[in-house]
Symmetry: none
Subunit: 409 residues, 2 copies
């Protein structure tokens, strides 16, 4: 079954608001196992609205409209539906009575233009709106459905849940279940190359998405029961984990920082950081996680060579290898855990730009993770603007921490 | 001139993300004086994408596409544009060289499928992407334009501002001049209340936008010459500044951190931070600014009471007033500037949540800025999730620093 969303309102096209209704409805349709092929935003213009609705009605089984049900002449959803279905609006006595009662209960005289909120057409079943004056429309004819709901999110959601979903469920068969694997240390295309064999399956489907903090691999199965869908996802998940190995750091809502902190807490370990080019971003990401103080002891931001030495990096290390060196990163990691009495230390030094240093190019970053007697490190060259380099360096540091703990078992 | 936005990606149609790119572009197009009539979201499906692009190209002068420029077989924007324009993609030697250099610089073998990120067609001028591997496309033929940009918001915005806007401006008839006032310490509705008298003017127009780090007041004038437009904006700007006073901290691309750092550098002052509940976010924001090391000396992240004392907060202060107190924030500010030999210190203590502390509610935050002989402070109660409280506390600290320096003149 194919659905399409139509979001109506000039305020969307001026960028005054984001179309969060469409996001909500997309999630709901997907959970109902209904395929959503198009989302369109149209302004308060009858020609463009009718044209767009006509096309949606022609190519989809269900059109879900939000907005355009208000009482003003800019609210044109009813007119557009009536035009597309070739039916004529009439005032429904019951809806009119309800409408007048609503205004009476607030001691307001109903503006006569509001009467169009009592309109129906022959194909329409009105949908109750407990939170506003505009009833929704469920228009069903020849096996196709057009649903019109208010644009105000809390009115729309209440109507969707209580009035629309119960009418949609009988029309759909399947249940959907989705699980996301979060992948670190591989680009999206490398992930796809590894998963080549799984990418073309239709059910479960598998798709990759590049997110700022990871590459997501989303596995979705459609089945008659949730248990069945879960079982299908589990099979593909096992194959994907086999192909991606330790690059899979978490699932669903896991983040690089939440996973690293959980590992620290489970092992009863504490963490301290000494950051140069990331300037406190690693500490900030760690402290985004509730309960981070159970493992994250403290952090330094040590920009200058003097500060690094003041906080325990040996002068010889900096003199011999330079501030931008893996040796300095290792010394920073050691110094932070010793100075702060933490079991693990992270050291990060590099060049976020815009200017090169020590003849080394912008984007050069050295990262080290030190625990008692063992140090892991990585040296990278990141591209992009200053904030982008900071971000990639911080995410890479969190991943190195995870792998370091992983090796310790 | 008529524009249309096409947002490409199955993740939109599954509701995994909201189409905030469309909101941003809608605001930008409106500021350029370009009419936006339709926004469409399409999945990663060549037939549906081509069908939708063909229609958009037929009925609009400019089609702005985001997404579908990745290296995978799900990324089909280039294929769709080539099909609609009836042109054949070829590998551009320069783009290929850049692409291979990017992978070489990271010691990664380029997956061969990435080569399509070096494609062009005859009508296309490639658009530089400083933050990623996918160049954009500017396809111009017979007076119509199709622009394709990456879907990752920070890559898209950077490309839009530096590559697309300069090419669009000449195509729009009238000259538009826009200036944005950046406002701190007031909510969007308070800003609108103060600017009531100016909000309904047609030219220049004035609109407010709530951004994460400020409320923006955008003043846009349309005129025959840029000088004329600038003059019109200047008049309204003066009135707006009169109504908003010291809440205006900057213009256009200024940020709370860039403004504070510029003031410090101009005055030859240095800064150190001691952060508790913000966990390094203030240091990280400051170090987002190129050249921040000219003023920002160093930062501590001191979560526990012990760490605060180890770094110079008197035990009596914590015992008497508690860790979550304005007195402790003031002591942290003093300690950080003394310990790190900076002229100014910032101290932040509070409860980011989820659990209350010392019987004080989640969201309680105390911030202090100390310079030789003078301390400014503020105590706030922020609402929202942990990361939101951290963010608001950090932005408030940067604003307090600005006002502190402002008073010192």
């Amino acid at each position: 079954m194919r659905a399409e969303i139509l979001s109506i309102g000039t305020e969307l096209l001026l960028g005054y608001i984001s179309d969060t209704n469409a996001t909500y409805l997309a999630q709901q349709l997907s959970a109902l196992g209904i395929d959503l092929y198009f989302v369109s935003q149209v302004g308060d213009n009858l020609d463009r609205l009718r044209e767009t609705l006509q096309r949606a009605h022609d190519r989809s089984d269900i059109v879900v409209m939000t907005g355009g049900l208000g009482p003003t002449e800019d609210d044109l959803s009813r007119e557009a539906i009536a035009a597309v279905l070739g039916e004529t609006p009439q005032v429904d006595p019951q809806l009119e009575a309800d409408l007048r009662a609503f205004f009476a209960s607030r001691d307001i005289v109903m503006p006569e233009r509001n009467i169009k909120q009592a309109w129906v057409i022959p194909s329409v079943t009105p949908l109750a709106n407990p939170n506003g004056t505009a009833p929704g429309w469920w228009a069903e004819r020849e096996g196709k459905v057009i649903v019109a709901m208010p644009g105000v999110p809390h009115e729309m959601k209440a109507m969707w849940e209580s009035e629309v979903v119960p009418r949609l469920r009988p029309l759909t068969g399947a249940i959907l279940f989705t699980k996301t694997l979060r992948v670190a240390g591989l680009g999206e295309s490398s992930v796809e190359e590894r998963l080549q064999a799984l990418l073309h399956s239709n059910n479960p489907t598998l798709a990759t998405y590049a997110k700022r903090d990871a590459v997501d691999v989303r596995i979705t199965a459609k089945a008659a029961t949730e248990a069945e869908a879960r079982a299908q996802v589990a099979t593909v998940e096992a194959q994907a984990r086999e192909l991606l190995g330790a690059h899979v750091f978490g699932v669903d809502s896991d983040t690089p920082q939440s996973v690293a902190l959980t590992m620290l807490i489970e092992r009863g370990l504490t963490l301290a950081t000494m950051e140069s080019c990331t300037g406190g971003l690693v500490a900030s990401l760690l402290t985004d996680v509730p309960g981070s103080s159970n493992a994250f002891v403290s952090g330094f931001v040590a920009y200058s060579a003097e500060m690094k030495m003041q906080w325990g990096v040996p002068r010889e290390t900096i003199d011999t290898f330079g501030v931008i060196s893996v040796e300095t990163a290792r010394a920073m990691a050691e110094a932070s855990r010793e100075r702060l009495g933490a079991s693990i230390g992270i050291g990060i030094t590099g060049i976020a730009g815009p200017d090169a240093q020590e003849g080394k190019p912008v984007g050069t970053v050295h990262i080290a993770v030190a625990s008692d007697g063992r140090v892991s490190d990585t040296s990278q060259r990141f591209r992009g603007a200053r904030t982008e380099i900071k971000w990639r360096a911080a995410i890479t540091a969190l991943n190195l921490l995870r792998l370091h703990l992983h090796r310790e078992g």
